[in-house]
């Protein structure tokens, strides 16, 4: 109808990372229900109801493309939120850009997703920013002279971050300071060989830019192999499930991320509590980032001033609106966008405390 704002979600509800898709979807539902309960969004004096369409990209590149086109052509959405992984976000971003539809990926960290694509934005900070924060923190807190990295070879997020960490650490501590740089394959469950190598290299810290489920296994196995030192991780650790899976083994370690759930204040805390109440578990960063991504789109609409009902014109207005954003207050921090469509926002380092909560340690802003 005329008085709705349609936004499409291109998310992995099935396939390799269904949990990520689920959280994105829940964040979307929560936001939509909230806004619609208040009567909708006020744009140029007119109330619009939100209508979200969730499509499954099966965590596959080709499906992500098909989904984008379906949302753009069939559903005539004004903007697309997603996809989450770069593997899908890169081709889907191309589609959105070609078809002049604003797209914002909550989670993708690969620079190519937004590069030279005026219509594509993202809500997460990119890896070249996050990596050095981890390096600095490791050097400062653990007096690390030597570091080891274990990353997922076929996961471009993990690989990217691992390489950035390696380069930065070597830059700061001299070539060869990363004493072990190991990888593992898709859906691996045993890391003992890599960890044996790492432990034998005697690093001061092990950097694990990996998904939370793998982190739990790696940490446990490292302990089995006699490792007693610290670990550091990145935003992919930030999932409520980390602690149920990892238990005591993960306590006392640090990771960089977008927000700290424990000790969160204000809107962030509100979001977490609401989500927990509705869906029974603490939201991960992807939920928070999706929430922010939607808000970025809504802010773009506000900036546009009014909606004409002509989809093409409205899409253009929204795109211009997003790039003109001065600053949005997000639950993962305040952000504005650079000319590539990447956010400029702060990162936090989180400590997993003895209660198993994600506790704020420090904040780093660009």
């Amino acid at each position: 109808a005329d008085d709705t704002i349609k936004i499409g979600f291109n998310i992995p509800l099935t396939g390799e990372i269904p949990k990520v898709g689920e959280e994105s979807k829940f964040a979307g539902q929560m936001l939509m229900n909230e806004v619609n309960a208040k009567g909708g969004v006020d744009v140029g004096g007119k109330k619009y109801k939100l209508e979200f369409i969730y499509e499954d990209n099966e965590s596959k590149a080709e499906s992500a493309v098909a989904v984008s086109l379906k949302l753009i052509e069939r559903d005539q959405v004004l903007a697309i939120v997603g996809p989450n992984s770069s593997k899908q976000a890169i081709p889907a971003g191309q589609v959105a850009n070609d078809n002049k539809t604003p797209m914002i990926s909550p989670w993708s960290t690969n620079p190519d997703t937004t590069k030279d694509r005026p219509w594509v934005f993202r809500a997460a900070f990119i890896d070249p920013f996050q990596g050095p924060i981890a390096v600095d923190f490791a050097i400062k807190t653990f007096k690390a002279q030597k570091a080891a990295v274990l990353y997922a070879l076929s996961n471009d997020y993990s690989k990217n971050l691992a390489e950035i960490f390696q380069a930065d650490f070597n830059k700061k501590k001299g070539a060869g300071a990363v004493v072990a740089f190991e990888s593992y394959g898709d859906k691996d469950q045993d890391f003992s060989a890599q960890l044996t190598k790492i432990v034998a290299a005697k690093p001061d810290i092990i950097f694990l830019p990996n998904n939370y489920n793998e982190v739990a296994l790696i940490v446990k196995q490292a302990h089995d192999l006699g490792w007693k030192g610290p670990f550091m991780g990145a935003d992919a650790w930030g999932n409520s499930e980390l602690m149920t899976l990892c238990g005591d083994d993960c306590k006392g370690h640090y990771f960089t991320t977008h927000y700290a759930a424990a000790g969160a204040k204000g809107e962030t805390k509100e979001f977490i509590d609401k989500y927990q109440k509705l869906y029974g578990y603490q939201p991960a960063d992807v939920a928070a980032l999706t929430w922010d991504a939607i808000n970025v789109v809504l802010a773009g609409i506000q900036n546009a001033g009014k909606l004409t009902g002509n989809v093409r014109k409205d899409r253009e207005a929204i795109r211009n609106g997003i790039s003109a954003i001065k600053e949005v207050k997000g639950i993962t921090g305040n952000m504005k966008f650079d000319e590539q469509g990447d956010p400029i926002k702060c990162a936090v380092v989180v400590k997993i405390n003895d209660a198993g909560e994600f506790e704020f340690a420090e904040s780093v802003c660009p």
């Binding site: 499954d56 590149a61 080709e62 069939r74 593997k87 081709p91 898709d186």
Partner: protein, 358 residues
């Protein structure tokens, strides 16, 4: 009449689709689905050469697809676009249109050569050992691309969209749609010629009794070589198309899961039935897309019944329960696939008036 009716029909269909796409009568979504159907037809019918006609159980088709996809993409990106990997274009971008078929064929040839990787071990091994060799080859190829950092590694490789734009600059037409039609027809045409010749039937003889084939003068090693290279070469062509339709490729798109889809299409259609492969590819692709619409519709429908609680929803996850379930049930009724090893004309003898399978 008999000779031209089917080509005429197919050409008309392709032309209508292209014209409709040009005038935006069918939208990009539908076009993409049509293109995916084309790619899947190439995949399943080429896979059928090995798994159907020759009766071997290979399961690494996606690996060869990857080779074709990468080779074609690299060549095109290197020749016709400026990229950070390869620098400035070597040739003028307008030439992309004319050289596209050439690079596609080169991709196919590269894939065919990779096919040697499985063809040569296949001389000595049969059925399930071959399954492993192909499976391992699939793992190896994917792993190789993941390790090639210069090609993006796990981050994938892109820039193929520029090629499509370059073609559109020459003439604004839905080029990928056109190429998909051209190559799909071409591939089916080649396969049909192959399996209906006495030469090609040698692989069917190998299927039914390899020893008898060898002793009755069929050079089984050569036939296997030809069959594997032919099949993997065509998979390479499918890969090239796939890469340019998507504009982006990633090694993980060609893992075992993709090979599994190829397997499903072949056996769904029927071993050794070309029309079966085509029908199965169409059905399979459509089924996946249809469920996008059916599941939400069914969800709305069941919520009309007051008994279903509001919190219960049919989720998209069910898609990958429903699709295999449909196949399992189908197998129970047609344990030889949709077409068995027969062709359309065997089911509808009247069709023979209009075309013959030769």
């Amino acid at each position: 009449m008999k000779k031209y009716s089917v080509p005429a029909l197919l050409t008309t269909f392709a032309l209508c689709t292209v014209v409709a796409a040009y005038f935006e009568i069918i939208d990009l979504y539908v076009q993409t689905i049509i293109m995916f159907i084309g790619v899947n037809i190439i995949l399943s019918s080429s896979f059928n050469i090995i798994n159907g006609y020759m009766g071997e159980f290979a399961c690494g088709h996606a690996g060869f697809m990857a080779v074709g996809a990468y080779v074609t993409s690299i060549l095109n990106v290197m020749f016709f676009t400026s990229s950070k990997t390869f620098g400035d274009p070597i040739f003028s971008p307008e030439l992309a249109l004319w050289f596209f078929p050439v690079t596609m064929i080169i991709g196919g040839v590269a894939a065919a050569i990779t096919g040697l990787l499985v063809a040569i071990p296949s001389f000595k091994t049969r059925d399930d050992y071959l399954a492993i060799i192909t499976l391992a080859a699939n793992f190896i190829i994917v792993s190789l691309f993941i390790n090639m950092d210069s090609l993006g590694g796990a981050r994938g490789f892109m820039g193929m969209k520029q090629i499509v734009f370059a073609m559109e600059d020459v003439a604004f037409l839905p080029w990928m749609l056109i190429w998909t039609f051209v190559f799909t027809y071409f591939v089916v045409f080649l396969i049909r010629r192959f399996v209906s010749s006495t030469y090609g039937k040698g692989i069917i003889a190998i299927h039914q009794d390899e020893i008898a084939a060898e002793i009755m003068s069929v050079n089984t090693n050569k036939m296997k070589l030809v069959a594997f290279m032919f099949s993997s070469g065509l998979a390479g062509i499918a890969g090239g198309l796939f890469a340019h339709i998507l504009g982006y490729i990633n090694p993980n798109s060609f893992n075992i899961l993709k090979s599994t889809e190829c397997l499903v299409m072949v056996y769904l259609g029927g071993m050794g039935s070309l029309s079966g492969s085509i029908i199965a590819a169409i059905l399979f692709t459509l089924l996946i897309e249809m469920l996008r619409f059916i599941i939400p519709a069914a969800d709305t429908l069941i919520h009309l019944i007051p008994l279903v609680p509001d919190t219960f929803h049919l989720s998209q996850v069910l898609k990958w329960v429903i699709i295999p379930l449909i196949l399992v049930i189908l197998m129970q009724f047609r344990p030889e696939g949709i077409m068995g090893n027969r062709e359309l004309s065997d089911f509808f003898p009247k069709l023979k008036k209009y075309y013959e399978f030769k």
